[in-house]
Symmetry: C2
Subunit: 220 residues, 2 copies
């Protein structure tokens, strides 16, 4: 089935508020996901919500997360049929929006929310591809420049897959939306951008000095 | 009752993995919370988890979140007795940890997970204090330099309170933990720090040029 350019909105992915900020464009969703380092994974345990930060990787329309075979969500996904109901959210904070009124203060942000069922990946080839995607999500290309997992490490690692099907993005950009009657109030108003960058890489103390900083890190 | 320096660990706040990274120190928890801009709020809707990014404020051992009276979690907290079961998580990503083995790749991070029940705040004084804390969380001191919410805005805003009782922090710092037999592998290994900063404030187009940039922004 050929992919459409947009995810189909569902009752869960249409927000009750600020609908104009919601978006379903695949390219936008992918770009937000690819820029993040951790997602916040929500699941239900004993009837109560749990939200944990965790790494993730993306391969096309599939997200992968991983963890020890002993960790709670990974274990729960393996024990439950048809898997573990999850909500996976990634958010970037881009700026502080200072309005003249306290009420209209806000944040510029880009977020993606994925609803679905996470399944344990058991196929060995898919597991390897998923683990590569997790390493390459941290630094693109890194999976080819490190030792792959051995049999013992693979056995200790559970991999979950969450398909990108019920997905939405939400984006706020631009300046404050003050009320017309507030425009003459004597308060500074505008946006303070937030920036993110990389510091100088810190080599491990036991690194052989003959090993040079790889190009993919020098470029960061 | 005098506060202790630590939150009491519970079954939910003791992780199944990496217990040495878990911490219950109040000062550490507060510092992680105060440095964040958005939290990820998890709740259960129709049996399924939902995780949404949202602003928050802290006053002592209370967290406040707010939203439109029409938004889902705010409405749910008001309709349910004794409130809405939530899990509120704040995460900072501090560095990329590149090990020689794919398996030991990681992230340096600091996170706080709060479990509890969110209650609607109805007391007018506490509501005002909560809304001030939300604005001051974005920029300290800003609530005194903006127009406070009027009666109509207050009526449109729901405020939830979540007490800091069942709380844990998790922190990873330092370099990679490679296996001894991997130390001679020819891969660069170390940490790439992630930095966060502020860009130059962008005044709104309709700002009166006579209004100077306030000191609390110039200091950022």
């Amino acid at each position: 089935m050929p992919e459409t350019a947009r995810y189909e909105p569902t009752e869960r992915t249409v927000p009750t508020r600020s609908r104009d900020r919601a978006a379903y464009d695949r390219d936008l969703v992918h770009s937000i996901l690819d820029e993040g380092y951790v997602c916040h994974l929500g699941f239900v345990r004993d009837g109560a919500p749990v939200v944990l930060p965790t790494l993730y990787g993306r391969v096309g329309e599939r997200l992968y997360i991983h963890g020890s075979t002993g960790s709670r969500p990974l274990r729960m996904a393996g024990e439950q049929d048809p898997g573990l109901a999850v909500c996976l959210t990634v958010t970037h904070v881009d700026g502080l929006v200072l309005a003249r009124s306290a009420f209209h203060h806000s944040i510029n942000y880009r977020s993606v929310v994925v609803h679905g069922t996470a399944h344990q990946v058991v196929d060995p080839d898919e597991r390897r591809m998923a683990l590569d995607s997790l390493v390459d999500h941290v630094v693109p290309g890194r999976s080819l420049d490190s030792r792959p997992a051995d049999a013992k490490e693979l056995a200790a690692t559970a991999v979950l897959r969450l398909d990108l099907e019920e997905v939405s993005a939400k984006v706020r950009t631009g300046g404050p939306n003050d009320e017309p009657e507030d425009l003459s109030l004597p308060y500074w108003t505008g946006v303070v951008p937030l920036t993110r960058g990389y510091g100088t890489p810190i080599a491990a103390g036991d690194l052989d000095p003959a090993v040079a900083l790889p190009g993919y890190l020098a470029e960061l």
